[in-house]
Subunit: 343 residues, 2 copies
């Protein structure tokens, strides 16, 4: 389909292309004689001319679009975060273009290149690893960006994250209140801030409470998936220390713990209490409904959107990071430890 | 940050910009004297020159990107479809830019404009309504596009959808096999092909089986949400015909049916059997695990990706639409009707 060019409009109207361009831009229209402008606009309409926005974006660099980079959309944690980001950006006139990286750094880097080539004005990343050269490079090039849910080891990049350490303390205290003294941990991947922070806070909480905290009570899961949680829980049951409760690094790992318990004929919470982290959608409907640390998904996304808008407004603004409060939601997967089960 | 231009590279290398351009493009490099090309490439490297891809895309119109338009990412049905589309497009070198429209046509239309301005090469839409002028317009402009999960009333646009009618027959037959003869339907929005097709198939199945099929046994839900399902089930329980089983238009409506039953002190499946549709992630873990019609999410997305690749390859290809088979997954939400409950 042929699209009429500015040159064709100018030719038909008998003016220089620069004049046609001025007449067709609201900001410069007044620089052209009113009668001429009207004639040019009429010709443009007749020819079905629309300004070529890519050519225009070469000059203005404004796309009114941002990139939203997600590690795994099938993890129910992320869609509500996306919603929060969009709730803030949309009224400000921005589109979010979402990219799903499957946690692959080469996919991420290709997608980021492609989005930058299309002049997105900034990024929200939910994919941060503690060490991630791509993000450091972008930050060094002053690309406006905000990290959401996870942060990097460096504090130079603005981020919005849940208060992971406080969440762990709430979960451990809840288990202690129920009489548990032998608690183990299914730790998430340690190259993410969520995995590392929660694991460290778990260890610290046991120490602060004078509970046994042998390193054999922590299993490191390779991914954040239910399958990894099932394998980890299996390993703890088979060769870990005796325990009556487990804190999982996230809700999917907790679901995996359910699977491993069921496979061995153990009951939750009667035999083992399970606590998750995140309070993903639907986790209140599983059997038993999961006790978990609720992070404010939509609000985390919305705050990330607000930080990004501030940066787009004033790119020189000093980076700020936000830690959002969490709370414990007690459901059916935790119960008082039965004396018979005390190791 | 200043980005070195082609002109600056050419100036420093002492050549015409057109020569510099040829030397820096693998496809045209051989047109330049080898020594000159090497000198230009060295200068480009020193100055940190990278070709301006927007300027380039003005000429080539190739962005190697497609738009993937989703009505609601927080509906667990869609992320696996996204994954299927990406599984096919990524190895073919395409990025998918995902847009979440919140089922708002103005958001959709703005996002589609913005993506077209950035030269996406085609679209996959999961947002189709039976009547949707935007999609008809795009089709009329020969924009390569494929509909996924839902179709429009016109068969002109290629689509990949589950065999909704066959799924309804499987569900109704299962309930009949369990002795149910009084079955009602929570119908989804009738402006979507999934809502309308499933509702018509339900009515037809009852008629074919000589079961009562009064129109009072169908409740029309305004949205596909759990809340709408709870309201609809409440209305059927309060003022519908007597029944022992309900077929919900999708799994979220079925979850709403659970809520309405629980609120009235009724048990599923003892008092009322419930069947859903889609088999979304996690629905096997709710209590009771939901009997539902499984649609092949990832495969539906993958087939849509394949159809789009074919269209990108040959835009004149005659539109094809695919109907993918479904199957019934029997879980704990359906049981034989108890004689005491027979109306």
């Amino acid at each position: 389909m042929h699209r009429a060019t500015l040159r064709e409009v100018a030719e038909k109207a008998g003016v220089h292309p620069a004049t046609a361009s001025r007449a067709l831009n609201a900001a410069t229209e007044s620089m052209v004689n009113a009668g001429t402008a009207a004639r040019i606009q009429k010709v443009a309409k007749e020819l079905g001319y629309t300004p070529n926005p890519i050519a225009r974006s070469l000059k203005t660099s404004r796309s009114m679009s941002i990139g939203l980079v997600i590690p795994d959309l099938t993890n129910p944690l992320f869609p509500p975060i996306v919603r929060g980001v969009e709730d803030v950006l949309r009224p400000a006139g921005y589109n979010a273009w979402i990219v799903n990286t499957d946690s692959q750094t080469d996919v991420e880097s290709a997608a980021v290149d492609s989005l930058r080539q299309r002049n997105v004005e900034g990024f929200v990343f939910a994919t941060a690893l503690l060490e991630q050269p791509l993000l450091e490079e972008l930050a060094a090039s002053s690309v406006p960006m905000v990290l959401v849910n996870r942060s990097t080891a460096s504090a130079d990049i603005p981020s919005v994250t849940p208060d992971d350490a406080a969440g762990v303390v709430l979960a451990v205290q809840h288990l202690i209140d129920l009489g548990h003294r032998h608690i183990v941990h299914l730790a998430g991947p340690q190259d993410t801030s969520t995995g590392a922070t929660r694991r460290k806070a778990f260890r610290q909480a046991l120490e602060d409470q004078d509970l046994p905290h042998d390193s054999s009570g922590i299993h490191y899961c390779e991914t954040w998936s239910e399958e990894a949680g099932a394998r980890g829980m299996g390993a703890l049951l088979d060769s870990g220390p005796p325990f009556t409760a487990v804190l999982a690094g996230n809700d999917q790992l907790a679901l995996g713990a359910y699977d491993a318990l069921a496979e061995r004929g153990l009951r939750c919470p009667d035999d083992v209490s399970v606590v998750g982290f995140n309070d993903i959608p639907f986790i209140d409907k599983v059997s038993p409904p999961l006790t978990t640390v609720r992070i404010p998904h939509v609000e985390i996304g919305a705050e990330a959107g607000r930080l990004l808008l501030e940066l787009l407004d004033d790119p020189t603004r000093h980076p700020r990071s936000l830690l959002l409060p969490v709370k414990l939601v007690v459901r059916g997967s935790t119960s008082p430890v039965s004396e018979a089960r005390m190791p």
